[in-house]
Symmetry: C2
Subunit: 176 residues, 2 copies
């Protein structure tokens, strides 16, 4: 007995390719953050353009992390972490923390909180949070974090990323 | 026997207020989307600045929706929806779909897909997806959507939102 491909197609939508999906999101702007945490072997950090506020009361944020990320095991073991929201003059920090096989903290000034998580100097803000959940979704982890401490800096504005380029927002980009 | 407040503080972190948390995310830039779906009473749509790519293979996105949103019940009942990624000249669409007590579709040109979900004209792209999960997180729902169809338009760039203002990205905002 043979299976009819046409019937299968009708029941199960064909879906879109990873490339098509990535192309859509490549053109979707995002603020840039570096997530940092304290691991037994030392500080760990990675650039994230998927940080969103989920709930304000209680204050909860989320971000996604590829299962292939070098930071994955550190995030799986972490009870807490810090989200550093990068300023427009920190594109070099964003690039450093997206690089593999380097000391990502080398070119950045940072200091640990009393609880151990690194805070990067010059960010527009940072939030310390407790990891509440790590939900496997497709080829990634969706990390749910309850905010317990926050600080806002005195910087000139946030770093924005779209279509593999970094942007500065301000009066020059504002729509009337 | 009295409870010692100091001990409680050490065990349970005091957390931050909803206002502090909102202030941090108000300065975090985001692309702007309108999520649309077909409900029994007609088309439903709402503006979302929390749409993120979670997984590329399989292609899965997520967004958060406040439990108090007028679209909540429609999203709870929906098997599928469309995410319309707004272009820089669609700030009026973003504003319309964030308004309460109005016909949000009135000022917008749209057409239903064969599957019923409204697609808004002029967006940079749209993705149709199947709702895979709705996870209650704090005062919101985190909605997990598997993309099954996508289309990209020929528009001049995406709409960006930060600090209650809309922005256009381009060469004028690009960092060297």
């Amino acid at each position: 007995m043979s299976i009819e491909p046409t019937t299968l197609t009708l029941v199960d939508p064909p879906g879109i390719s990873a490339e098509e999906f990535k192309a859509v999101f490549r053109h979707h702007p995002a603020g840039v953050a570096v997530v940092t945490l304290r691991a037994p072997a030392g500080p760990v950090g990675f650039t994230a353009t998927s940080v969103i506020s989920v709930s304000a009361d209680p204050p909860i944020l989320a971000f996604s992390l590829a299962a292939t990320s070098s930071s994955r095991f550190a995030v799986e073991d972490a009870a807490s972490l810090v989200v550093n929201f990068l300023a427009a003059d920190q594109r070099h920090v964003a690039a450093s923390f997206a690089r593999r096989g380097v000391d990502r903290f080398a070119g950045t000034t940072w200091a640990p909180l009393p609880t151990g998580e690194p805070v990067l100097e010059g960010a527009t803000a940072w939030v310390r949070g407790l990891v509440e959940d790590r939900i496997p979704v497709g080829d990634s982890l969706l990390v749910i974090v309850r905010a317990v401490r926050a600080s806002r800096g005195d910087t000139d504005g946030p770093l924005t990323y779209v279509d593999r380029t970094y942007h500065r927002l301000g009066e020059h980009s504002r729509l009337p």
